[in-house]
């Protein structure tokens, strides 16, 4: 805790100013970027940090999984430079995506602009964003589930200086242009990141000019303390103790190698006073040649922070709380080296999206024993499907994130048909898809009847049915086909996800949750069933009014009402 005194009113004003800067950076990045993944899906992050990488503020529009890792990017760059005997100089701008040194995974590239005051390094302005391609073995940056090591995932940037003395380091940009597919789009997005980070640095500098470094430092120390205080208060209210949970992910269900399937994620949470530790001991060993390992810093730590924050400082109850490094101070995270959650280079990590969300879910499962009123039962995980097709001059790629659902919650049913825990993207309108791509959407509805039963039932996933109107292909990076979302406190478990291929002959076959590039002939349909969340509490305690309403709304069938809920019809 810092002991420097600052006028509380001025502190409040400076806190607002810092948030405005991160927001302005986000607005600029979103507006300047070339690709829809940043502008539409909002898969980007912006933040300011101090000179050591402690996060001071983040853009509220950005995706949690992009802004959360920013401190790791800064610390990674500082460590890398130290190892090289190098240091940050005024006029430098760095590019970084090393998942073994702070970055979230290869496609999420960070750009860092240092801020100086009287020649002393005082902070960083940072932007991160998901790029459509970083030169991996096959086109794109999702569904690359067959990368054998870190080198197969694309270009690796380890604290690469892309500007020096405020001048572009041209050779670096040349390498980018010649090794990335769709360079206009991707390099354009990178340039947008640089511009947005520069604006942040400029504004940060203006703020220092206006109030003086000492006041700004005191104000953000106060801000970090403030967030820390809130988190400590929240942890303090959690009963002391150790809470353990484990879950399993599919891995590669169609593989003959048993080591690639049924992969365990374990989390042990200890609460002592206002401190909380999370230990992932017991999690399966890393997989040396499949990219579902998770970077410890940048994916695992963020998944845990975000989940704990959503449970303990739920914004629905606490309002919007400044996201900064103070919030994570009371939390310590460890994972055994060489495990899926702390792999050793060069194990591949590019498809860490679904396992990371499973870590988040496991942490919630452990916390459910400590704060049962603040959690949901098991969530349904997500699946990323890349549709593609076309010929040389008219290639197209279309990415859809297939939503999951939440488990039942204390006092209310689970959320239906949403992205879960650390992900929060947007789908594409059917009328947009069909107007632009040789795809037809035949169904997009709630998946009835299969929710986890309970006092408060799990949320419903969706059923989506796509038809290829021309020859094309799919790649799939998903999970949750084998293990059902867990029920809580007597609630039933939810239902697994499914992906089916319906041939023109109406022959239906089921697909595994991970598929590298697979050609699909015209007239074929892809049916995607989203998971339904787990139930919360015993179904015998469900309010008859809710059962009646579910029946009327055709969320459950009469048979379920009778057999599961003993309702007399």
């Amino acid at each position: 805790m810092n002991d420097k005194k600052i006028d509380p009113f001025l502190a409040s004003v400076i806190h607002g100013a810092l948030e405005d800067i991160a927001l302005e950076m986000g607005q600029k990045l979103m507006r300047m970027s070339y690709s829809s993944i940043i502008r539409e899906s909002e898969d980007f992050g912006t933040a300011l940090t101090d000179q050591t990488g402690r996060q001071l503020c983040e853009c509220t529009m950005s995706t949690p999984l992009q802004s959360g890792p920013i401190p790791g990017y800064v610390m990674g760059v500082l460590e890398e430079l130290k190892g090289r005997g190098d240091a940050v100089k005024p006029g430098d701008i760095f590019m970084h995506n090393d998942p073994y040194n702070g970055a979230s995974h290869g496609p999420d590239v960070g750009f860092l602009v240092p801020v100086f005051s009287n020649n002393d390094l005082v902070g960083f302005s940072v932007t991160t964003a998901h790029h459509l391609d970083v030169g991996a073995l096959t086109p794109g940056s999702c569904g690359i589930v067959d990368a054998v090591d870190a080198y197969a995932e694309g270009l690796q940037f380890k604290a690469v200086r892309v500007y020096e003395n405020n001048k572009k380091v041209e050779p670096v940009w040349q390498i980018l242009r010649s090794n990335i597919r769709m360079p206009d789009l991707v390099v354009g997005d990178m340039e947008a990141q640089v511009s947005a980070a520069r604006i942040g640095a400029e504004r940060f500098n203006d703020l220092i000019q206006k109030y003086g470094l000492e006041t700004i430092t005191a104000a953000y120390e106060n801000l970090l303390d403030y967030s820390e205080t809130l988190m400590r208060k929240a942890i303090n209210e959690v009963p002391d103790g150790t809470y353990y949970a484990e879950t399993f992910i599919d891995g590669f269900l169609d593989s003959e190698d048993e080591n690639l399937k049924d992969i365990k994620i374990a989390a042990s949470i200890n609460v002592t006073g206002s401190n909380l530790t999370v230990d992932l001991e017991g999690t399966s060993k890393q997989i040396d040649n499949k990219p579902i390992n998770m970077p410890f810093v940048g994916t695992v730590d963020c998944a845990i922070w975000l989940t704990l924050r959503s449970i303990l400082l739920d914004s629905n109850e606490f309002g919007s709380i400044p996201q900064n490094s103070g919030l994570t101070r009371p939390i310590d995270i460890t994972a055994p080296l060489g495990s899926l959650a702390n792999p050793i280079f060069p194990a591949p990590v590019i498809a860490r999206f679904c396992p990371g969300n499973a870590v988040a879910d496991t942490v919630m499962k452990a916390m459910s024993q400590a704060v049962p009123e603040k959690v949901s039962a098991g969530i349904g995980n997500l699946r990323v499907v890349a549709f593609s097709g076309g010929r040389a001059d008219s290639q197209w790629v279309h990415m859809e994130i297939m939503e999951g659902s939440y488990g039942g919650r204390y006092g209310q049913d689970g959320m239906d048909a949403v992205d879960t825990l650390y992900a929060n993207t947007r789908n594409n309108p059917i009328e947009d898809i069909e107007s632009h791509l040789p795809l037809r959407v035949l169904k997009y509805e709630l998946r009835e009847a299969d929710a986890g039963h309970g006092k408060w039932r799990g949320g419903l996933g969706t059923v989506r049915l796509f038809e290829f109107l021309d020859d094309g292909a799919i790649s799939i990076e998903g999970d949750g086909h084998k293990y059902e979302p867990w029920g809580f406190d007597g609630g039933a478990s939810g239902s697994t996800a499914e992906i089916n291929l319906v041939e023109q002959s109406n022959n239906k076959s089921s697909l595994p949750s991970k598929i590298p590039y697979k050609p699909i002939p015209v007239g074929t349909k892809i049916e995607v069933l989203g998971p339904n969340g787990g139930g919360y509490g015993s179904k015998s305690e469900r309010d008859p009014e809710l059962i009646k309403s579910d029946l009327e709304n055709e969320i459950i069938t009469e048979k379920i009402a009778k057999d599961e809920y003993n309702m007399i019809l």
């Binding site: 006028d7 509380p8 009113f9 502190a11 409040s12 004003v13 607002g16 948030e19 405005d20 927001l23 302005e24 600029k28 507006r31 300047m32 070339y34 829809s36 502008r39 539409e40 949690p64 354009g188 403030y226 205080t229 809130l230 208060k233 975000l306 924050r309 959503s310 449970i311 739920d314 914004s315 629905n316 109850e317 606490f318 996201q323 919630m364 603040k374 959690v375 949901s376 994130i401 919650r409 959320m415 239906d416 048909a417 949403v418 992205d419 929060n424 947007r426 789908n427 309108p429 059917i430 009328e431 947009d432 069909e434 169904k443 997009y444 509805e445 709630l446 709304n553 055709e554 969320i555």
Partner: protein, 696 residues
Amino acid sequence: MYSIGIDVGGTFTDFFCFDHSDQKTFVYKTASTPDDPSKAVCAGLEALLTKYSIKATDVSTIFHGTTVGTNSILEGKGAKVGLITNSGFRDILHIGRHQRPQHYSIGQEIPWQNRALIERKFRKTVNCRLDSSGNEITPLDEKSILAHLEFFEENNVNSVLIAFLFSYRNNAHERRVSELVRDQMPNAFVTTSSSVSPQFREFERFTTGAVAAFIGPKVTGYIDNLSLTLKKICQNAELRIMTSSGGLATPEMIMRHPELTLLSGLVAGANAGLWLASKKKMKNLITLDIGGTSADISIINNGQLNEVSSRNASISGYPVQLPMIDIHTIGAGGGSIARVDAGGGFKVGPESAGASPGPACYNLGGSKPTVTDANLVLGRLLGDRILDGRMTLDSQIAETSLKEVSSTLGSNINQTALGTISVLNNNMASAIRSRTIQKGIDPRDFSLCAFGGGGPLQAVGVAEILGINEVIVPQAPGIMCAFGLLISRVEYHSVKTLLMTKTQFNLSTLNETLSEMKSYLTSIFERDKADTKLICFEAFTDLRYVGQGYELKVPLNSDVLKLEDLEQVWDAFHKQHKQEYGHNFLSADIEMVSVKLKAQIKKENSSDEFSFENSIDETVSRLNLPNTKVEFSIDGKPQSFETEIIDRKTLTGGTQKAGPNVIYQEDSTTVVPPGWTMSVDDDLTLRLRKLDNNNE
């Protein structure tokens, strides 16, 4: 002949009456009647007519802003709605864009799920489907509809929405079903997604339709009843209703399209700001309307009010695809409460003491310190001059209310009061930044126009933070919304989705579409019995680079385009893209997503004739008050200044005074701090300028 603007606010219903024959203005205020707003409207109207001896038959037009639709959505009290949609797509309204409103929350509600406008049991499907060009791939199965309608009737559904995919391309199926519904359920409100918003993006279009159906019976009932009652009072008066786009509509139009009233009660103030900007020849103006619980902000950029971008348009968490002026409302006003929160941080608002119990100094039972209490303690409000002395504020109680926060923070009362004002002002500046700096607009190129009871009290503080050097305060800041109604015009909009790219462009399709839209809008004006010779059209198009997900609105210079006009349109888009996003792609293909046509009826007599000049109520005596001590913050430290107290009624055109001074009037107080000067325009508008930049 008289025109009367009637604005219904949360606390007061305001009347602004203009006598066209001798250019006189009359104003009147009465307490609102939230249970049935038309009560205060009618009672107030009668009182106004009596007070100023106006002959009821001489009233030619009544302009009205209503919050009936807005409140119906905000409070979740609306119709029992049924939906008829395509098989396979029953839950479009429920799934939405599959994004949670809050990143960090397990317990959050999802408005379109937890507060569904149409319950799942009333969402019914029928076999029918169009492709993306509007061609039928599955014909409409009419036979299956009857059973749905019987179910609706059994369950007292009183409003029905028909919403099909691609109906913006071809509305035949929606129209046919709506005929069937009207036949079967003659008393129900019936609407279709294509009539409400013929634009692509099914979730947003269907939701807009659902909003219309949800508020439909209530709004149409209110307007129907109000027209009848007003006809009884003023037999010759035509009623005109404010719409969210800043234009007026006839009651007949609102009966068909109640969704146009979503922001009816909010936009009139922005229109008044626009009128003032044009009168003062100011191209850039930010309006700041501060009331008891909230502040409304609008931006006039280059002579136009900013509209909400289609991506951000929503009400109460439901997305809507409608032309709406961008009124940014934040929870910051006189009643905003100052407090120290759980983490030890100092916060002001959004919690508000409201009108009841109100700020502590009202002495109506409130004990929490508010912005009004802080202003009173600092000497910026005159406790005995509120509403010309009809209300008094107790500064002793105000001081007491601030004690607890002060001692928690270890500061004194004045510091806490100044801190409260400073944090409030910063919150408002932050809201303005989100609509300017963050969109590539520099607020320093703007003046700030302050109105509402609290606007002129805070405006200079907010301006200082943003680097704005000029604040203007209209002559009657408390009735700007009622005035704004009076100077607005009847205006209708039409929109069509095209999705046509530059490389495969068919100019005649565009011109045919525009011509269809023109005849459609003209037919509405004919229905209104308006003089169609007075219609003026403005055409716009929404463009994006192929592959982009959101569009920019670009004006079309004509409603019949030639090839060279089209080139100008593409050029304008590239330019605007660069201005808004910092770059453009000159060689990329452009997609014309939709075309929009706006039709306005020009006023026969220009609106410039209106002024507030004769609105002074001469019956209230003028007082000469002695100077008092007022606290201001100088370099972050409280400092006391001998301050002149001025009765606004004594100020005449040409007067100039250096700050600090406090100018009071019946329903507002203007604060001019040290370092600023005040001058009075001939129309009695106050102009406050920062001294350093005042050396012309």
